[in-house]
Symmetry: C2
Subunit: 151 residues, 2 copies
């Protein structure tokens, strides 16, 4: 195709899935000489409306964040319920789960990706925005996350 489907080429986040977010965050804190920007469970109300492979899910996560220059490192420990995070941990072990791009027009972008064989596998909300994970591993070698901030 002749134009950028995402509308951006700027990666804003690299995210790991791990078995214990606090242990992994402690190792990064030691390496970088800083505390994580934040660490904690996703809020229960942020899980409202989360869809995983076409069905509502109670999947949650414990999250920690570090700044890596212009990119944010996200450390994800899956907590309960089916999720793309738990699936990745089961299938591949610990490692990078996705890279994220900040986009505008989530529904249109996810539709266009699906038309190109890149289906949405999980979508939901966070405080101030929404996200969508794209099942792009077979084609792109890694899951893409689309992030849209409200307002």
């Amino acid at each position: 195709m002749s134009r950028n489907v995402l509308g951006t080429n700027v990666v804003t986040q690299v995210a790991l899935v791990v078995r214990n977010a606090e242990t992994t965050a402690a190792a990064w804190a030691e390496l970088l000489g800083v505390d994580p920007l934040e660490i904690g469970l996703t809020k229960p109300d942020e899980g409202e409306g989360t869809m995983y492979r076409g069905r509502p899910t109670q999947g949650r996560a414990k999250l920690a964040f570090f700044d890596l220059g212009s990119v944010r490192l996200e450390i994800i420990e899956p907590v309960g319920g089916p999720s793309t995070w738990a699936e990745h941990l089961d299938r591949h072990g610990e490692g990078v789960h996705h890279i994220a791009f900040r986009i505008q027009g989530m529904d249109e972008k996810l539709s266009r990706l699906a038309e190109h064989g890149l289906p949405t596998v999980q979508a939901g909300y966070f405080t101030g925005g929404r996200y969508g994970y794209v099942g792009s591993e077979p084609k792109l070698g890694v899951v893409l996350e689309l992030l849209e901030h409200f307002g």
Copy 2:
């Protein structure tokens, strides 16, 4: 520890290992609406002096690159010989192999990391510089690459 072991927190590269670099690069080119910056085999003379788990290796790779904002995407297809790339593909399948940081003082940095339980697993040269891969998955959830440019 109280200071940053790497001397930087700026990630400069996210690298995938895949089975076919050209196929995966074509999918990224379609997504982003651009051609790869470059694509080709590592040069034979760049493999001189490459060490993998303490032994010389003839491991080479086919590489493709895309710009993702301030981060470069590297797509790696292992070609021959043992390497950390081939090992990752065998153990985890396609996915992100490492994230890279540009550092100064390779030997001192690798030594300090090793003292903290983060051993060097592969090291070598490229035109204009050298690299070292750190076996950091068990602690950090992902391999780190240190890149040092000469001059």
